[in-house]
């Protein structure tokens, strides 16, 4: 599963993209956040601000209780500030 980070999540974690293989018990975006947060201290710090983090599953906006099973690409980012 490809994991993408944007904006301050990218700079805090220190990478734009990584490949992750969470266990089968990790079925939701929220559970994936918990699992990723344990990967490294930088992950842990970045994911502390959970209320400021949005998620997209296969390029569609999703919620923390959305199912990630079978997804190819999960992205984490702050609320958008375009235009």
């Amino acid at each position: 599963m490809k994991i993408l980070y944007f904006a301050w999540l990218r700079t805090e974690i220190g990478m734009a993209e990584e490949t992750a293989s969470p266990p089968e018990t990790v079925t939701t975006a929220g559970a994936l956040i918990d699992w990723l947060a344990a990967l490294s201290p930088r992950h842990g710090t970045a994911f502390e601000k959970r209320n400021s983090i949005r998620v997209a599953i296969d390029q569609e906006f999703a919620e923390t209780d959305s199912v990630i099973t079978g997804a190819n690409e999960v992205a984490f980012f702050p609320p958008v500030t375009g235009g």
């Binding site: 993408l4 700079t11 992205a75 702050p78 500030t81």
Partner: protein, 155 residues
């Protein structure tokens, strides 16, 4: 679908001429250009030297196409264009263009404003500002959420 995500500049005159060329049914062209500003009053008074827009390639196009399809469904548009740039911009640089064509002006105006309001909350772009104190990610604006909400259809 007339959606472009690019780093290059755009020209409003060229785009209007291209979209209206050979048509005899267009009565109204509404357009909006968003420009990088030196001051962001929401964020304090320090002048912005430059800003960088980061986006999510793939998802951006997908979201813009979905927004455009919704606008075409809600208003009788003859054509529609969204151009969103990414990269580094200095104050005065144009960043986003939305253009809507219709027979009558009200549909063109409403759809153009709808598209801009939704872009601000649904297009995966993130803005980093550069001031004398350094670089800083810009926080989302509550007023943008409110502007987008006014277009929500009743449940």
């Amino acid at each position: 679908m007339a959606v472009r995500v690019q780093s290059e500049a755009f020209d409003l005159g060229v785009e209007t001429a291209r979209l209206t060329k050979g048509r005899h049914d267009v009565g109204a062209v509404a357009s909006f250009v968003g420009i990088a500003r030196e001051n962001n009053p929401d964020e304090g008074a320090e002048p912005v030297i430059a800003m960088t827009l980061e986006h999510y390639p793939g998802m951006t196009e997908r979201q813009l196409e979905a927004i455009e399809a919704e606008a075409r469904e809600r208003w009788p548009l003859l054509d529609c264009l969204i151009v969103h740039r990414y990269g580094r911009f200095e104050p005065g640089d144009p960043i986003v263009l939305v253009m809507t064509l219709s027979s009558h002006r009200q549909a063109a105006f409403d759809a153009c404003q709808f598209l801009m309001d939704w872009l601000k909350t649904k297009a995966p772009f993130w803005k980093q500002e550069e001031t004398a104190s350094g670089q800083r990610w810009v926080a989302a604006r509550k007023s943008d959420d409110a502007a987008a909400k006014k277009w929500s259809k009743p449940a």
